[in-house]
Amino acid sequence: SPPLIINTWSGPFTAATNAAYLTLSNSSSTSLDAVQAGCQACQTNQCDNTVGFGGSPDESCETTLDALIMDGQTLNAGAVANLRRVKDAVGVARHVLDYTQHTLLAGDQATQFALQNGFEEESLSTENSLRACHEWRSNNCQPNYRSNVLPNPLSSCGPYSPSSTSLTQNNIPNPSSSDHSHD
């Protein structure tokens, strides 16, 4: 019975469950405050390296963040996508919700919005994320999300260019991708 918190995953993610529950147990806090506190707990703790800074580097070794926060009373939502160099992605998303009439800001402009709202600009890379990226490059850039390009993305790093041969359907996730390579 309420107050009630439910979230994906377990292990380190229960820190988010508990942070959100304790926030919601405070009578002055809203459900929106609670989910924000839960998401921020996992961002700070880098839960499973799939949340927050220092995880999931892209091909260029950069970590970027995505976040969404939504109010079930009003259906107001705020989100950031491909947020660069700002750690508190859900905090920025909350500012999109509270201080704009938009729903989703992306990329460098989302970063600029964050800085204008007092968030700090800092690197999202760590030794671990850079090592993971360099190991990926040493492993011929495997697993790889490119398709219908040359050189063959299943065996070679880029740069890539479109292949002139007929396109193949590739709707199945790369079977060699690791459990950590997901959203």
């Binding site: 919601l24 839960g38 390296n49 969404l68 709707n171 690791s178």
Partner: protein, 137 residues
């Protein structure tokens, strides 16, 4: 990815998702996390949903919007979760998915495909979060 849902004693609900996405993605790629109806979705008149998994596939079918609208149509949380995941694997049989669903009375459930999924919850009077293991459909 963390997707998290809250139900307050007054009945208000909220949802959030936060993620650093898929490893080794193409720069600029955005998955399902920040998309309302995909990474999470909530409507206090029906319920809430959070998702994790292969975001490039899941974001095409808006599973959380689907699940919450299924609650509105009278499905239970378990039925709504199962239905949303089955719609994904009908088109993408190999997809790894995990979704949690909670109706606006606090009934909750989850469904998954492609892996063993877990979720956590904590409600009134509970000293710690409880973990539920969900087998793949």
């Amino acid at each position: 990815t963390l997707s998290l849902l809250a139900l307050s004693p007054s009945g208000s609900m909220a949802a959030c998702t936060t993620t650093n996405g898929a490893s080794h993605k193409i720069p600029g790629r955005v998955g399902d996390g920040p998309i309302p109806g995909s990474g999470s979705y909530v409507d206090s008149t029906a319920g809430a949903c959070g998702a994790t998994g292969d975001g490039d596939l899941m974001m095409r079918l808006l599973p959380c919007y689907q699940a919450v609208e299924s609650l509105r149509r009278g499905l239970s949380a378990q039925e709504a979760a199962d239905d949303a995941v089955r719609r994904i694997i009908a088109r993408y049989p190999g997809a790894r998915t995990g979704i949690v669903v909670m109706d606006n009375r606090g009934e909750h459930a989850a469904a998954a495909s492609g892996w063993e999924f877990t979720y956590s919850y904590r409600g009134k009077g509970m000293e710690n979060a409880e973990v539920v293991v969900v087998k793949a459909l």
